[in-house]
């Protein structure tokens, strides 16, 4: 059945069927489903590629990457295979990686989905900052105070933690003198390069 490798819709429905029956088709390479349909290789290899990409981008984004950006980088890598990879496919592959204990997980921040590849715990405050950052790619302490109704201490704490975890970068070069915290994981490349000093 070539269908399963070539058709993301088919894969999603297949997984739903398996879930209803109580079977995990990806539990083991030895599984009947993996062998018969060849989906094991598809997902396990996808897992390897996702780990690679997360590692390669970690110095830039601190271990949090936008799922869409991950998919773009994936399709560049997989050009030869010409098999499309859906968001659902990525989420499934990552959920399998989770058991290996290095913090791989898909988290929702606002409207976006981010893939975490480090064991850093993100609490609710951090999530809210990330959501705020989606608008322009950066956040200031003042903005966090204003938009989230936080004290300046709370805002600074959250931003500084994200900074030390490598998820944010500092930009102090603006005329207004306000420190900007840039978040590579939610800022697209164009936003980051477009902003002047």
């Amino acid at each position: 059945m070539n269908d399963i490798r070539k058709n993301p819709t088919f894969r999603t429905q297949f997984h739903e069927m398996c879930a209803k029956v109580g079977v995990d088709p990806l539990a083991s390479n030895k599984g009947f489903w993996a062998e018969l349909l060849g989906i094991g290789d598809f997902y396990y290899e996808l897992g390897v590629q996702i780990v690679d990409i997360c590692l390669a981008t970690r110095s830039h984004n601190g271990g949090l990457i936008d799922l869409q950006e991950l998919r773009t980088l994936l399709s560049q890598r997989r050009k030869a295979a010409r098999e499309s990879v859906s968001e659902d496919d990525c989420i499934r592959a990552i959920s399998k990686l989770k058991v290996l204990g290095s913090g791989f997980e898909v988290i929702s921040v606002g409207k976006k989905k981010l893939v975490r590849s480090v064991p850093t715990e993100l609490n609710k405050d951090h999530n809210e900052i990330l959501e705020l950052a989606q608008a322009q790619g950066y956040v200031t302490v003042e903005e966090a105070q204003r938009r989230l109704s936080w004290s300046s201490g709370r805002a600074t704490d959250a931003l500084e933690t994200l900074l030390k975890e490598g998820l944010a970068m500092i930009d102090d070069g603006h005329r207004d003198g306000k420190r900007r915290y840039w978040f590579p994981c939610v800022a697209s490349m164009s936003v980051a390069t477009g902003a002047g000093g």
């Binding site: 269908d3 029956v21 030895k30 390897v48």
Partner: protein
């Protein structure tokens, strides 16, 4: 062979189909039957040659030198050969939905249809044949000619405007395929046929799934029995029982129920084998990574080395968990943060702590602390893992952390040097003194 329920196809004297202008043969299969599914009165055509051309499917009976054809234009849909357990024992079948005229003639334009089965018995590749058939049905090469100004027949028997005689003396009519609507129609057909082939695939899967459901509920019962039975009846275990336990584990695994590794059971044989293989495999990466490597890195390294038949993350974990039972020099370890690593059994935490402490006592470190990257260089392991060690040392009271915008830095734990009854006392010896002199360099 009374195949008169299909339009006749003229053959040459040597039994080759007479091709129409622009018609090209694409594939030839031997030992093919054609059956009219819904109409058992119609004698099936047995053991003929089936030629796929750009325009038609032509079935040829060599002994009687007769041929019958189905115009591809009158094929409403084609269903691919089923892949199911059942079908492994039968000859592959391709099913066609063919239109039927008002007078009940199959293979001619009409509003009703009939299902015809193509049974491929010979040593053929049914998949390759089907994909060629599919290409022809989708790309409709007989219409391409029409667009180029020629008129092409879609029905062998009706006359109309713009007709001309072909070499087989049948009359042709134009089939209007105009610009956008033609494209749209093609798109729609592709959509519908994709949907239908998905449905077909799901029909098979559904059949499999209902069987699987039975298997799964049975398997679950067995699994529970394995889990409870093995510990309760430890004394009763004999070879035979162990053997069947093993088989059950493997079978459970193949159904998609991961077999648990308990202290009594060794899990599936598959995982036992994998466990040994992995113990061998990790030696080299461990050496390169200073004796400790994250499990996720092994997952990538191992699967990349394998190339195909990759293992799942759960397979890897099960295999590592089994190392306890085998005599191998490696072990699985989980840190508080959840990070899991593989390390050599000879690896000693104490040794690491000693090295970290002596690193933290250097004058530079007394002033500025030790970062995970510093520790990584000294220990020869990855920074993320070095951080785990630093955190563990901290939890043992050897180091203290300092968090700043630059990240985590660790300092030797000075608190133990401070007399709780006299916190202002500055000791002039030992660690305290060393720290004071190092810190005061800044003035």
């Amino acid at each position: 062979m009374n195949g008169n329920w299909l339009p006749q196809a003229p053959l040459t004297a040597s039994g080759r189909p007479v091709l129409q202008p622009g018609e090209v043969e694409r594939s030839l299969q031997s030992s093919v039957d054609l059956e009219a599914e819904e109409n058992p009165r119609l004698t099936p055509l047995r053991s003929g040659l089936l030629a796929l051309t750009t325009h038609r499917l032509i079935w040829i009976d060599e002994s009687s030198n007769s041929g019958y054809a189905i115009f591809l234009a009158n094929v409403i849909h084609a269903y691919p050969p089923k892949k199911s357990i059942r079908s492994m024992f039968h000859s592959p079948r391709i099913r066609l939905q063919v239109s039927v005229s008002a007078e009940g003639r199959i293979g001619e334009k009409g509003s009703t249809s009939e299902m015809i089965t193509i049974v491929i018995r010979g040593k053929n590749d049914p998949d390759a044949f089907f994909s060629k058939l599919w290409d022809a049905l989708r790309s409709r090469p007989w219409e391409v000619e029409e667009k180029n100004g020629e008129v092409t027949s879609v029905d062998g028997g009706v006359s109309g405007p713009g007709s001309r005689d072909g070499p087989s003396n049948s009359v042709w009519i134009a089939m209007p395929v105009v610009g956008v609507s033609g494209i749209l129609r093609k798109e729609q057909e592709i959509w519908e046929s994709t949907d239908k082939s998905l449905q077909e695939a799901f029909q098979d899967l559904n059949a499999l799934m209902s069987k699987a459901k039975e298997m799964v509920s049975l398997a679950e019962k067995m699994r529970l029995k394995l889990l409870s039975g093995s510990s309760a009846h430890a004394n009763v275990a004999n070879d035979e029982e162990l053997g069947s336990n093993q088989e059950m584990q493997d079978w459970l695994l193949s159904v998609g129920i991961a077999s648990p590794v308990t202290k009594d059971s060794a899990g599936a044989l598959y995982h036992q084998q994998l466990s040994r293989q992995l113990a061998d495999f990790v030696q080299r990466p461990l050496e390169r990574s200073g004796g400790m490597i994250a499990v996720i890195d092994i997952y990538c390294l191992f699967n990349r080395a394998r190339g195909t038949e990759l293992i799942s993350p759960e397979d890897l974990l099960q295999a590592c968990a089994l190392w306890d039972k085998l005599d191998v020099p490696v072990m699985l370890r989980k840190f508080d943060s959840g990070v899991m690593v593989i390390q050599n059994k000879t690896h000693s935490d104490e040794e690491i702590f000693t090295r970290l402490k002596s690193l933290a006592l250097k004058p530079n470190a007394l002033r500025m602390g030790v970062s995970p990257s510093d520790a990584a260089i000294i220990l020869g392991i990855a920074p993320a893992l070095a951080k785990e060690h630093l955190l563990t040392a901290e939890s043992k009271g050897l180091l203290c952390r300092d968090v700043s915008p630059e990240g985590f830095r660790f300092y030797v734990n000075l608190f133990e040097e401070i007399d709780p009854t006299n916190t202002h006392l500055v000791k002039h010896h030992g660690l305290f003194e060393a720290w004071v002199s190092a810190a005061s360099v800044f003035g």
